[in-house]
Symmetry: C2
Subunit: 502 residues, 2 copies
């Protein structure tokens, strides 16, 4: 398996360290703090320890546990709410399979960390009174491409001889212009050593220092260690295959910007009323419908796409299907029993999105109902803790009726590319909504605008055939115990949670 297997092992090791106490960072930091060099001068470690108790005390003190930045919270134990509404998710996994399921979950989590972790997350500290000048951020290299490292030089005087050693892990170093009277050892190797009798010769060599990553990867990083006498520094290189943009042409009007998407199951009467109401306000906008009815009926109307799914395939499968068929920058999600009114102003939702490009989802209200919630997520060694709290984070400057939040109702405008990135899990067949925002936690920036609303068709007024259909429909909508169990088991494995407080 060679060096790649070795790298994998190393990464798993790093992941385990990250999981158990940030040992590596603490060690590195403490070390970094305790043996940092003094101002120009030559007294040795022992001597310094006694001469400069204050400094020594300072530095060792800087790195006690509570000073590690909060991404280290990944490694602590998160605590679940002690309310009756807090589910312990292990209770929803079959007891007989639990240990095996837990094992598989941790294996997948380790692989997830290998995909996500990078040396660029490790805590690094610039040490004081060092003659080294170096780039601490902004050095980027394309995979396998030789790249100049800017900003590296030594600023020390009165030496008869100057020597600098550099080392990297995931690539090789080289000096492009070595035709000077300086000495270069280790060209195109992981460890490079430079020496010269004059400072400007040494810095001349450093000016043409290059890095070439040795593994083709889409994203990653490396750390460069530099040593000059008793001084040392470590700085990061971002390795990245530049991603190509994926822009969406908004065209000239709402029809080229937004597609209306919904899913239906049996309720054609409701769906047709919805479509009628849409056409009253948006006569040309495209409508995409996913249909998993037992006896699919063709939906009449212009610019409507109907997709027939296997019977009763399910709610999120249908949502994910329509999302996959959208070609506009935005999609508007509506349930099949909603009703467009004068207040259903899609343009307003687009306006908010365009004013704040970081936004991914903007919800409105359904017959006055907002259902805005925040998702509070803590990582933990043995799984994360998630709780849902009604409310918002803050309002959007310039849009007092719009607030940043964690999740919204079933009526929202969303960036098509953002929703695809998160997806609606097709395994959620009957009752599901919050699950989408949980899967999107840390990926979707969500807002809610109270003034944009859609109507809801009145319930319980159906008669005759329509009532029969609705009665059948509701037998599918009543959530059964095994469905709740399946959803909680998904939170346990997919989102690696140990508890959820809705």
């Amino acid at each position: 398996m060679g060096c790649d297997a070795f790298k994998r092992v190393k990464l798993i090791y790093l992941a385990i360290l990250l999981l158990f106490g940030m040992g590596s960072v603490l060690y590195y930091s403490y070390k970094g703090a305790s043996d940092f060099p003094e101002p120009e001068g030559h007294h040795d470690e022992r001597k310094r320890d006694h001469d400069e108790p204050v400094e020594y005390h300072d530095d060792s003190g800087v790195f006690n546990e509570q000073n590690i930045p909060n991404h280290a919270s990944r490694n602590t134990q998160c605590s679940c709410l002690k309310t009756s509404k807090s589910y312990n998710l292990e209770d929803f996994v079959n007891a007989a399979e639990l240990s095996e399921v837990r094992r598989r979950r941790e294996v997948e989590h380790q692989k997830h960390l290998i995909r996500e972790q990078s040396p660029l997350q490790q805590l690094l500290v610039a040490r004081p009174n060092s003659p080294l000048m170096y780039p601490i951020q902004g050095v980027r290299a394309a995979p396998l491409q030789e790249t100049l490292i800017p900003g590296l030089s030594v600023h020390a005087h009165n030496r008869e001889h100057y020597q600098v050693t550099l080392s990297v892990t995931n690539g090789v170093l080289a000096i492009k212009n070595s035709d000077s009277d300086g000495k270069v050892e280790g060209q195109k190797e992981k460890v490079l050593s430079l020496s010269a009798s004059r400072l400007d010769t040494l810095n001349g060599l450093l000016k043409s220092l290059t890095y070439t990553s040795s593994l083709y990867r889409i994203k990653g990083g490396d750390l460069v260690h530099v040593t000059f006498e008793r001084y040392s520094a470590t700085f990061p290189i971002v390795i990245q295959q530049t991603p190509i943009p994926n822009l969406s042409d908004p065209g000239q009007d709402i029809n080229s910007q937004v597609t209306i998407t919904t899913k239906t199951f049996l309720r054609y009467a409701q769906l047709n009323r919805l479509i009628e109401s849409i056409r009253a306000f948006y006569k040309d906008i495209k409508i995409i419908v996913a249909d998993d009815s037992f006896k699919p009926q063709p939906i009449k109307g212009s610019n409507i796409e109907q997709y027939i799914m296997p019977p009763a395939k399910g709610w999120f499968a249908g949502r994910n299907l329509v999302v996959s068929q959208v070609s506009t920058k935005y999609l508007l999600w509506v349930d099949d029993d909603f009703l467009f009114t004068e207040s259903t102003k899609i343009e307003k939702l687009v306006e908010v999105m365009e004013a704040m490009p970081e936004l991914d989802v903007v919800g409105g209200s359904v017959a006055g109902n907002f259902f805005n919630f925040k998702l509070v997520y803590e990582e933990g060694e043995d799984g994360g803790c998630l709780s849902r709290r009604m409310g918002n984070y803050q309002s959007i400057p310039g849009f007092p009726d719009c607030h940043l939040t964690g999740g919204v109702v079933n009526f929202f405008l969303a960036r098509t590319d953002s929703v695809r990135r998160v997806g609606f899990d097709p395994r959620l067949q009957r009752v599901a909504h919050t699950e989408f925002f949980v899967d999107g936690l840390g990926k979707l920036l969500v807002a809610s605008c109270s003034i944009i609303s859609v109507g809801h068709q009145p319930k319980g007024q159906a008669t005759g055939e329509e009532k029969k259909v609705l009665d059948q429909y509701w037998t599918f909508r009543i959530e059964k115990q095994e469905e709740v169990k399946m959803k909680m088991a998904l939170y346990y494995f997919k989102n690696r949670l140990k508890c959820f407080s809705p």
Copy 2:
């Protein structure tokens, strides 16, 4: 619009700077280089300029243009290949609309940059011989959450008075434990000033320095500027809403790991032969079929899901549909006229994926055909340059038959979540394949394994009804001029390319 609008303006400004010459970085770097402080001591700027021509020369020299790291290449002009096969993409946009289309493209690109750019990409340099100790990487804060900043301290002596000033842009600073005899000004403001008569008092205050971002965002960053006398430093803080994992349970066997996906149009005879061949080797694996035939016929067989699309909806729309319905960690893509053989070993492809978690797509060969290609992409002010070159990057250690590359044939195993993140553009109706790997450039790590292959059903042997159907089928598969034009126009807008050399 308040501070958010201001931030947006700033970001657009940053984006423009990034687009035109990295002006800001050059300026910052040059400044950083030219007025960096010396070792402990008190001679002033003028004096230094004359005393230390060597150092001065050094530092100004470090930052000439070609030393800016290569992400700055974003701002240069990329050049298209001068071959007959290189398309100038503007030629494929209607001349009358070109200026308006170009305008819309640049507006979308600016918004794309606002979503993607961050102060964490700017070049920062650690200056030599500074008494400041500070974290250069690894400080992470959750949005709106007060977070301790570790590793910050001053290491200077023999002052009667010590003062440090800190400033940030996107949040506020505070000292948690200010109950010492030091002086703190600007608690919970953007600029914080600390002073003390003793060094350990000052460093005691710095130990409890916290940062709180003032805007709720999913991802972002801030730069902390620290000043002590004539010494200064700048370091980054990563602001991130921790993303929740999205793990996939591999289950116990190939059936719980992989779903076979395909799309059919008219060719039921071919599809049925494919399914027969799959069942000869994988009798229980799930098969998902997207079908946009004019007269859909039910597909017989167990564990097969058929989705009926609007007639002739198209090739990539069908691919995107099946991808949206997969519930397994991996999906295997096959065309409807392929044929499974003894060498169609899905397990081998899974083995490679599991051995290298960074992988997103692993292709095989179709009847001995590989079609591996690399995509060479350069950014440019007026659009990027893309060319396709046959070949691979490097082999996968431990798997000599597998090579990392940029794109593969129509037979590949892929991570379901990765493919969803990129997607198959539903606008590509007839002939499309490379487009998926172009959209995935910088997002998908792709490999090809030569020993895993699938068969191809022989062409031109059909007779009678089947031949009639195939003749109709091929009238749709022959690419028309307007389809080529549409594809090139997509490259122009969506991927912001100016030229493409297939």
